[in-house]
């Protein structure tokens, strides 16, 4: 299910290269895709055209479930750059069920209610013409 949630967080437009454009374009369409290794099946993070786990260029884009669990999180009170004016926000590491550990934001949740190990699912926030930022909300 595609879900777009209004957010008070900045949505900076990412730097997009031909190597990584499919990731951002899929997010714009409401899908979380990652490169997977055709040799060892490793889910590659951050997205790139190389599998460092086994050392091969033989990778392909595959769709993920968008479901995961919180590995760690922090409520940031001193943002920098585009986040400088934000009073606070949650930065988190989310372990996707497919095995990648993503740096992301948890949104639409009371920071005090979050716990390590909590289930979360992806949402997408538009960031320019050709991208959306995958962020996560608590799974209901």
């Amino acid at each position: 299910m595609v879900e777009t949630v209004e957010t008070r967080l900045p949505t900076p437009e990412p730097f997009i290269s031909p190597e990584t454009a499919p990731f951002w374009l899929a997010a714009k369409q409401g899908r979380l895709v990652l490169p997977f290794c055709n040799n060892c099946n490793h889910a590659i993070w951050y997205p790139k055209a190389f599998c460092g786990a086994c050392g091969t260029l033989n990778v392909e884009w595959r769709q993920t479930s968008g479901d995961g669990t919180i590995y760690s999180f922090t409520q940031v009170h001193r943002g920098e750059g585009p986040y400088r004016e934000v009073e606070s926000f949650v930065l988190a590491l989310v372990d996707l069920d497919e095995g990648a550990r993503l740096l992301t934001n948890i949104v639409d949740a009371d920071p005090a209610s979050l716990t390590i190990g909590q289930r979360v699912r992806v949402v997408f926030h538009d960031a320019g013409e050709s991208a959306a930022l995958p962020r996560f909300i608590p799974a209901s």
Binding site: W45, P47, S72, F73, H77, R101
Partner: protein
């Protein structure tokens, strides 16, 4: 093949200033270079190897022109705050191989009053997937601290004990940016930066720098200063390139035992430790990874007073990055300088460890997502 005893630190200097609004960055390098060479009793014309991070201008070359150096060996390794510890190891290896005989390592930085913005470099592959989410140095280490608390029961008060120990040393350092001793309550009641890290869990931000001179044994023999031997050096790079990175350990797991093995000394022989302290959690994890205590016990270890003058391992006796100095977000060079002071018997009298013969200096460059750990084992000539 080992570098053990094949190179000696004969000059060490930490710029005394913490605010340098009227200096240029190369000017800071030059002041530090001349002071470290004067400490060694050498001339700038003696330098035939030059080591810097290469962040300024054209790699390391811009500074060689500024300083009028004609090195026959140059290294511009940049791995964040641990760069300078790597430079000492690289200089020792170059000297051992006969590539140079007098190696100069310099640092200079100006960051006070500069507002940090999002890091954006088109060719840096990881940035687009991290900066858009508002990651900061403190936030990345906060993720580590929360995970450490989750796995091992570490508490904010135990984190605070690292800062308290640093502040008790810093009161005796006339150049420290923060000289006032603080309590655990002061730390946990200071403003939250990125929970669970408070303002006083974070290192200081300073201008300044320093320099180190590493020379061949035959040069050291002709100088008046007590040489400090480079006994062991090891580097370890940790990242998520082969799968998810854990956020509860550092590269010291690999670099510390390797450096100690090269030096041929046991951890229990180490009398003093300079441990990179970008944040309080950095120290707890690194001490565990060295093996000063069991993994997960670092919080209780530091809270027991282990870092103090009478503790298991006196640490960061200059006040560290948490109180003394962390020039340009890179604390590695200052870590070496304080270890040299301790081994020469030239630390501030109140913090000098009696008969300090063996020390480690350890740097952690980068954050928790990816980092470069470098361990040096240094010793007196009789060690």
């Amino acid at each position: 093949m080992s570098i053990r005893g094949k190179a000696h630190i004969v000059g060490a200097y930490e710029h005394p200033a913490r605010n340098l609004p009227n200096h240029s960055v190369p000017q800071i390098h030059a002041e530090c270079a001349m002071a470290a060479l004067a400490d060694a009793g050498l001339s700038i014309r003696d330098v035939d190897g030059f080591f810097s991070t290469g962040q300024l201008g054209f790699g390391g070359v811009s500074l060689t022109e500024y300083l009028g150096l004609n090195p026959r060996y140059i290294d511009a390794t940049f791995i964040g705050g641990s760069s300078y510890l790597a430079h000492v190891g690289h200089a020792a290896a170059a000297i051992a191989a006969g590539k140079c005989r007098v190696a100069l390592i310099t640092q200079g930085a100006k960051v006070r009053g500069v507002i940090r913005g999002a890091k954006h470099t088109a060719d840096t592959p990881e940035f687009p997937f991290e900066t858009v989410y508002g990651e900061t140095n403190a936030a990345i280490y906060a993720l580590a601290a929360r995970r450490h608390m989750h796995e091992f029961g570490t508490t904010p008060e135990q984190l605070a004990a690292v800062k308290v120990a640093a502040s008790e040393y810093a009161q005796f350092n006339p150049h420290a940016l923060l000289r006032k001793p603080v309590t655990v309550a002061d730390v946990v009641n200071s403003p939250m930066i990125s929970d669970p890290l408070h303002r006083l869990d974070c290192c200081v931000v300073t201008d300044g720098g320093g320099a180190i001179v590493v020379v061949a044994p035959e040069i050291a023999r002709g100088l008046n200063r007590p040489p400090v031997s480079v006994l062991g050096h090891a580097e370890a790079i940790k990242h998520g390139g082969r799968g998810p990175n854990d956020f509860t350990s550092t590269g010291a797991v690999v670099s510390a035992p390797r450096a100690l093995a090269e030096a041929g000394v046991a951890l229990s022989d180490i009398a003093y430790a300079s441990i990179y302290d970008s944040f309080t959690i950095t120290v707890i994890m690194t001490l565990e990874d060295f093996g000063f205590c069991k993994k997960g016990q670092g919080g209780a270890f530091v809270a027991s007073g282990a870092l103090g003058p009478d503790g298991v391992i006196p640490t960061n006796t200059d006040g560290g990055g948490l109180c003394n100095n962390h020039p340009g977000y890179q604390g590695g060079l200052v870590k070496i300088v304080e270890a040299v002071r301790q081994l020469r018997g030239e630390a501030t009298p109140q913090t000098q460890i009696p008969n300090c013969r063996l020390a480690v200096a350890h740097g952690t460059g980068g954050g928790m997502s990816r980092q470069a750990s470098v361990t040096l084992v240094l010793g007196r000539s009789d060690a």
